[in-house]
Amino acid sequence: MTAKAISQEERFYQLIDKEEKIEPKDWMPEKYRNTMIRQISQHAHSEVVGMLPEGNWISRAPSLRRKAALLAKIQDEAGHGLYLYSAAETLGADREELIEELHIGKAKYSSIFNYPTLSWADIGAIGWLVDGAAIMNQVMLCRTSYGPYSRAMVRICKEESFHQRQGYDILLTLCNGTKEQKEMAQDALNRWWYPSLMMFGPKDDESVHSDYSIKMKIKRFSNDELRQRFVDATVPQAEYLGLKVPDKNLKFNAKTENYSFTEPDWSEFYNVIKGNGPCNKDRIKTRREAFENGKWVRDAAIAYAEKQKQNNKNGKQ
C-alpha cells in the first residue's frame, strides 16, 4: 500500500479519531476553532468573575487561618483565569478583546457567580458545591481534544479538588458547631443547591452546542450525565454533614445506583443568563471598573517599558 497524501482536513479528523491532541499550529476547521475560543474564554471569564463572590468575604473571614486559605483560593482562581486566557490566545484570540466582550455583556460566564454570598457558610458551600461541580466538568476536560486546553485542565483540576475539600471543611466545622452555625450552613445549601445543578448547562435536548462538542471530543459526557454524577457524589456528602438537600423528591434508586432528583427551575436559569440574576449587573460593573480604573496603571507600565527600551538602545550605540 502506498502512502497517500492526505488533506489537512482529513488529518484533523484522523487526529480526533485516534484520540490525539490538536495543537495550536495544526490546521483546524473554523467551527472547531471558534467553539474552542468561545468555550475557553467563557471558562476564563468564569474563573475571574468567580473571584468576586468569594472576595466579598476576605475582609470578614472569621479566623486568620480561614482568611489566608480564602485569599490563596481566590488567587488560584486568578491563576486559572490567566492560564485559560493564554490557552485561548494560542487559538489566535486576543485577551483584551475577550475581556472587552465580557465587559460589554457579550461574553458569557458561569451563571452561578451571579448569586450573592450572604453568609460565611456560602464560602464553604461555594468550595464544596461550585468547585465540586466545576471538577465534574473539568476532569472530563482533561481529555478534551485541544492540547493546550487539556493541559491547562490537568493543572487546574488538582487545585480545584483542594478547594473543594477546603470548602467542605468549612461546612463540617459549622455543622459541628453551634445551632446558629449549623443553620447558617443549611441556609447556604438551600440557596446554592439548585444553582449548582444549573452549572452543567441546560438539559441535553435543549443544549445548543452539545452535539458538535461531543463529536469533536471537546466534551465527553452530556450535561445531564454530568449533573447526575454530581448529584450522586454530593448527596452522601450532605448526609455526612447532617444537612438536608432541599429536594423532597430526592430518592436513591438501588437498581441504577442513582439518585432521582428534582430538576432546577430552568426558567430561572434562562433568566439569570439573560442578565436578570441578583448580581449580574454588579459583577460586570465591578470587573469593568477594575479594568477602567487600572488603565492609567497599565499605560504607565507600557510607557515606562518603552522608555527603558529606548534607553537601552541609546546605551548600546
Partner: protein, 250 residues
C-alpha cells in the same frame, strides 16, 4: 518584661495584620490579572507574618488565648500598628507607595530583629526578611514605574505622596513598651533607621522623578493606640464574625 514584650510583639503583629487587611481589598480588583496575583501573594506573606507574631505573643502573654483572640477581640485603642498601614488603599499608586515606605522600613527592622536576643523573634524575622526583600523589589519598581511612566501616573504618585508622607515620621518613634526591648537587645532602636531609610527613599524618588517633601510635621500615635478614623471601620469589618458569634470554632 512580659507585658512589654507582649506589647512589642502585638505592635509587630498588628502592623502586618492591618496592612494585609488593606491589601486584601485589592483581590479581584487590581489593574490587571497578573498584578492581582502578585498583590495577593504579598498579602498572604504579610498575613502569615502577622500570624507568627500573634502566635508568639500569645505564648509570651500566657493568658491561654490563641492568635485569633488578639486579632478579633481587641478594640481600636489596643491596636498598636503604625498609622501609615491603616490608611486606605486609594489608587494603585497610594497602595504601592505605602507598601514601599513599609518595605524599606521592614528591611531595616527585620535585618536587625534577625539578630534579636530573643531566638523566637529572630526566627520569625529571618523567615520574613526573605519575603520582605521580594516585596521591596516589587514596590520600589512600581514607584519608579509610576513616577517615570506617564504624566498622569507621575501626578497620581505625587498626590499619594502628599497624602501619605505625614505618616512616615512615626516609623522612627520609639514607644514606651519598646524601650525595655531595646535595652535588652531584643529589639533595635528604630530611631536610628531614619537616615538610612530617608537616603534610600530619596534614591528611589530620584529615579521616579518625584521629590521628597520638606515637611517636618508628622502624625503620630498608632504605636501607642491612638489611631486615625480609618482603623475603627477596618476593625468593624475584620472582627464582624467573631463579635457577632462569639466563642465559636470556625
Amino acid at each position: 518584661m512580659r507585658n512589654n514584650k507582649t506589647s512589642y510583639l502585638l505592635h509587630l503583629a498588628d502592623n502586618a495584620l492591618i496592612l494585609s487587611q488593606r491589601l486584601g481589598e485589592w483581590c479581584g480588583h487590581a489593574p490587571i490579572l497578573e498584578q492581582d496575583i502578585a498583590i495577593t501573594n504579598i498579602t498572604l506573606d504579610i498575613l502569615g507574618q502577622a500570624r507568627y507574631f500573634y502566635q508568639l505573643a500569645s505564648r509570651v502573654d500566657k493568658k491561654d488565648k490563641e492568635e485569633d483572640f488578639y486579632a478579633y477581640y481587641r478594640n481600636e485603642r489596643e491596636f498598636k500598628n503604625l498609622l501609615l498601614l491603616e490608611q486606605p488603599n486609594g489608587d494603585w499608586s497610594q497602595t504601592l507607595l505605602r507598601q514601599f515606605f513599609y518595605d524599606s522600613y521592614c528591611i531595616l527592622l527585620y535585618s536587625e530583629l534577625e539578630k534579636s536576643k530573643d531566638k523566637n523573634i529572630a526566627a520569625i524575622a529571618s523567615k520574613a526578611i526573605k519575603e520582605v526583600k521580594y516585596h521591596y523589589k516589587y514596590s520600589s519598581e512600581w514607584v519608579i514605574r509610576l513616577g517615570d511612566g506617564t504624566k498622569e501616573s507621575n501626578q497620581k504618585l505625587k498626590n499619594s505622596l502628599n497624602y501619605l508622607w505625614d505618616f512616615t515620621g512615626e516609623l522612627f518613634e520609639v514607644a514606651e513598651y519598646e524601650k525595655e526591648m531595646i535595652e535588652k537587645g531584643i529589639a533595635p532602636d528604630v530611631s536610628k533607621f531614619k537616615t538610612t531609610w530617608f537616603n534610600n527613599v530619596t534614591e528611589i524618588f530620584n529615579k521616579a522623578n518625584i521629590e521628597v517633601p520638606q515637611t517636618t510635621w508628622f502624625q503620630s500615635g498608632g504605636k501607642s493606640g491612638l489611631h486615625t478614623e480609618n482603623l475603627g471601620k477596618l476593625l468593624t469589618d475584620l472582627q464582624y464574625m467573631q463579635r457577632t458569634y462569639p466563642n465559636c470554632t470556625w
